[in-house]
Subunit: 438 residues, 3 copies
């Protein structure tokens, strides 16, 4: 299998344009951790990939948490004395604090200000704010606009509901040759923010579509969930099946112009950590590797000590390091088709390493086998080297990825050498005690 | 408990003045590895702290060694032809080689010179010399004075005794909540030398006094002993109790102007080694970490292979690296109240880490617990981070010090987070198989 | 024992002259992986050392390989139209591709060229080529000569035979106090090439002679074999005895002007790897350490996964890094007596470390023993330090080489300290469960 056939349209530069276009369609929707915006988003994704939509009722206990009430919003604004909508949800859903309680009031500026959020250090940007678990309401606007507000009364309307309903999430399962699975988890609960995390939504959708058409050893599970509560809900409802997860990625902030950053799983030496390190280490443009920290996206939940799953995080510029993060600056101009295509390719490269990583036994371990009479001496030095490394280290204790790392050869070269040696009868895949390939 | 309450007088800058003053009182006494000078020193310390004085008879076998005869000295001098005391024990006890046999003689300069010790490379300093296990006598003087001596006869008197008696040492035991103990070992056998090792004597005395007034998990044992033979004697007499020692420090040369140096125990990864590394690594003025070498002070004995105790060494400039070492240059002007106060604080910081270092289990290990509804989201990022790190790594396998090292957060921040989480019922301390907290 | 007594003639600079002279005698012989050239070479070595010559019949199965037919050659040339020998085996045996089939033909230049090998990038050098397992023939010449060849017919003669016979190898076994053995493996199958590998042949011969006259703990086995097929043959015929091999060296390319390079065994942490690292690390002229790669000389066979023997490689400039490699440039002027003597000394130094490396127990492990009364305080600091390190780390778990590495002291200093301490009754050698020294 070759997941990442660069000659195919699926992973050429045009995939970036396709992802960007899907993100553009999703951008205006007002998503939150529950509600119709999330459902509408899943509806659009369902046009591209098979998607199961789950609804989990408000009040359901999920470990230490409870599924919250469902929030929906139709309209919201602040009007000045002349009746002009000076802050308008219809222009940008960032203007309303997510999960704001409904309100209809006339307030003097001083009182209104207690519900206004701005970024004094970035006076032209509107911040993104939420009030999930605190019953409150508020508006976000640019600090420059705030400074221009005149004294007097303002009409404030938030036409929202916060009622029993359900938490919605989407799941796309792409079945492979085995039930061992690779998890890709995407938080899809942010309103009009592009990099965080429509980039993840778009990438995962196109990855799911692409993988559906390729032969694979692993099954792939794509989750489109609200951050934190969604991951905890999914983990709670699927606790018995977590043993099948052999690797996982949280993909977030993967469309900006920065270099790729991979944050290792809590374990630090999971197979996906080595696979990502290999791909980033051999890339033309080098990536950054970070150790696990319990501060970030949903890897916090997958890597909590009770699960400790082998889940890393794939991003470009880390969330703390770009000023547009969680502001109106994170719009569709902040991401590019080129970066999205590069992220798409690198994630596929990582999956390709996982798909191809096997452990073999050299069936002629005493001395080298005579390669010449089998026509296995390759003209190119690197191929020859890969052949010798695979034969030498295939003692049942080294995977092909181990061999690639020790030899400093590209994984694909090592894997190709193993494929040829296996075909020539010089290698057999290591099997477990019950005859299962391990 | 907070051993190091910087608002209290015990660890503010005035503690340095207090230590310096005690050292000044002790400075003129002629100490050796046995004898009345050592007893007099312990008598003064006993005014500050509870102190048990032990006497071990000459001839007692202690492992491969034998407690030597007791040495005492009343007077010693060299007189020139005019009857003038040109070298005078009364002016400085460094002038007599420690353990010199008694002598009364008239000697020509040539013969006298065989008993004179100087430092040609440091012509203004008087060296410190001993003759513990070789029956001999001698005087120390500056090389400049030696060069000025005229030919002729000199009267030489050493009014000393070397007779059966005993080896004296002092022990101050500060009982804590458990019998697990921290050992602080001080060699107190040098005559008028300030940094080596009245600094250790003064620091340990004030540490014992300070710890006596604080609530502590550990018991602390302070030893004031003659170097080498004292440590071997104490180890021999207390061999059955060594299992209680959880950590230890030899404190020596801790009053000069250099940076703090910590030499790791022979094990290299004992808890005290990590605690000291943490304190030195987070200090405003960075300290130096050295690996164990079997050459130095009494850590040589505690870290001999038959004991291999977790004992490190706390110094400022290491003994081989300052020219005043073992000369009259190591006087009270060579040490400062500021350096002594800094050493005092850093040793307390190390003990504070040991006192506070526990291992917990997160009782909600599956996903993060919902901190918001418990009011546990801290305003400051570092506190929040500490909370998340403690929850994530409290799987029973990581101590708070492990967590502080992995997160690069100050130990006290991590410990405070754990304290709050424990209070909220989110953490429980790990207990051993018999229910004992471990 | 001191294998490397630099005052003796055996390891002074003259040994280099002696090795160089032996190589000069061997240089003109046309060796290949079988045949009379190999036998003649062994005949000359047998004048210097006891040598057993083995003959293994063509067709013998050795693991995945078969002993090939025996190749012999009497003459070969290319004559131009005037009957002039323009390429002549009698001038240099490199001119004929090794294992060339017999041929007698008149060929036009165009057809002849398909059998001519040159080095366009090194136009004045004649390459070294072989055709062991492909039935073919060919000539090697300088590219400059090729360019000067005129159109027309050429007479080509290779008077060779390729027939059933045998593979020949030599073995010199130098018995020591124990049957534990150190293997030295030399490929001796190259024709007129000096560094690769007459340097190895000459070094091993003189090492075998020298070790035969010294008292040794280990037995030493020197193999003079054809590359690859010889190692595989020897391994196959001696498989039951491989457990005796405690260390081994492949010596090749050890006479050129470059620094010494040691390539670690596949294990990477075998005793010989540490011994070689120690010797190279303490040498006046620093050496290079390389990790194992399955590409090189016969260490490929000894370190194949079915054997994984502790065999490293000792070279000067690695084979890939000098342009004279496998060309007529690798002649007797490319190697020097000085480099050969240096290689000889360093290999002996490595063996010396292995010979002297023991593990002891300090019989007074509680505190330091009193060295003073035994007269064991050395004047020199380094000796004193070595004494203290040996006492401190001789807990049965550290060899003298471990102690030398941890203390950064020269092995010989550490070993001398141990010898003195053992004599004083303060150390005993560690013994295994059956009382055997381990």
């Amino acid at each position: 299998m070759n997941l990442n056939d660069q000659s195919g349209s699926a992973s050429g530069p045009e995939i970036g344009v396709e992802i960007h276009s899907l993100m553009t369609e999703l951008f205006p929707i007002c998503r939150s951790i529950t509600g119709d915006g999330f459902r509408k988003t899943l509806g659009i994704l369902g046009r591209h990939i098979p998607l199961t939509v789950h609804e989990v009722p408000s009040g359901t206990r999920v470990f230490d948490w409870t599924v919250p009430k469902e929030w929906n919003i139709r309209d919201a604004f602040i009007k000045d004395r002349k009746g002009k909508r000076i802050v308008d949800f219809q222009r940008s859903n960032l203007h309303v604090v997510s999960y704001s309680l409904p309100v209809r009031a006339i307030l003097p500026l001083a009182e209104l200000k207690r519900h206004l959020h701005t970024l004094p250090g970035q006076p032209d940007l509107v911040p993104y704010k939420t009030a999930y678990y605190s019953e409150d309401w508020g508006f976000c606007l640019s600090h420059r606009q705030l400074l221009g507000l005149e004294e007097g009364d303002y009409e404030v309307v938030i036409d929202s509901t916060l009622e029993d309903g359900s938490l919605t999430y989407g799941e796309s399962y792409v079945k492979g040759a085995t039930e061992d699975e690779i998890l890709v988890s995407i938080h899809a609960c942010h309103p009009s923010l592009a990099n965080d995390n429509l980039s993840g939504v778009g990438l995962a959708t196109m990855l799911a579509r692409h993988l559906g058409s390729a032969e694979r050893r692993f099954s792939y599970r794509f989750l489109f969930i609200p951050g934190t509560i969604g991951a905890i809900t999914w983990l709670c409802l699927n606790e018995g099946k977590l043993g099948k997860i052999k690797a996982g990625l949280v993909v977030a902030g993967a469309g900006d112009g920065g270099d790729v950053t991979y944050q290792r799983s809590r374990r630090g030496d999971a197979e996906i950590d080595w696979a990502a390190a290999h791909v980033l280490g051999h890339a033309a443009r080098p990536g950054r590797l970070l150790d696990f920290r319990p501060y970030g996206y949903d890897e916090r939940q997958y890597c909590s000590p009770g699960f400790d799953l082998p889940v890393g995080r794939f991003s470009r510029t880390p969330f703390g390091e770009y000023p547009e993060y969680h502001t109106s600056g994170d719009d569709m101009t902040f991401v590019s088709a080129g970066s999205l295509a590069d992220s798409f390719r690198k994630i596929l490269d990582i999956f390709e390493v996982l798909e191809g990583n096997r452990t073999y036994r050299n069936v002629n371990p005493k001395g080298e086998p005579q390669l010449g009479r089998r026509g296995l001496y390759a003209a190119e030095d690197e191929k020859n080297l890969a052949t010798l490394w695979v034969l030498n280290l295939s003692d049942g204790g080294h995977s092909l990825l181990d061999i690639a790392e020790r030899s400093a050869l590209p994984f694909e070269t090592v894997r190709e050498a193993a494929r040829i040696l296996e075909k020539a009868g010089l290698l057999v895949e290591r099997t477990g005690p019950d005859g299962v390939k391990t």
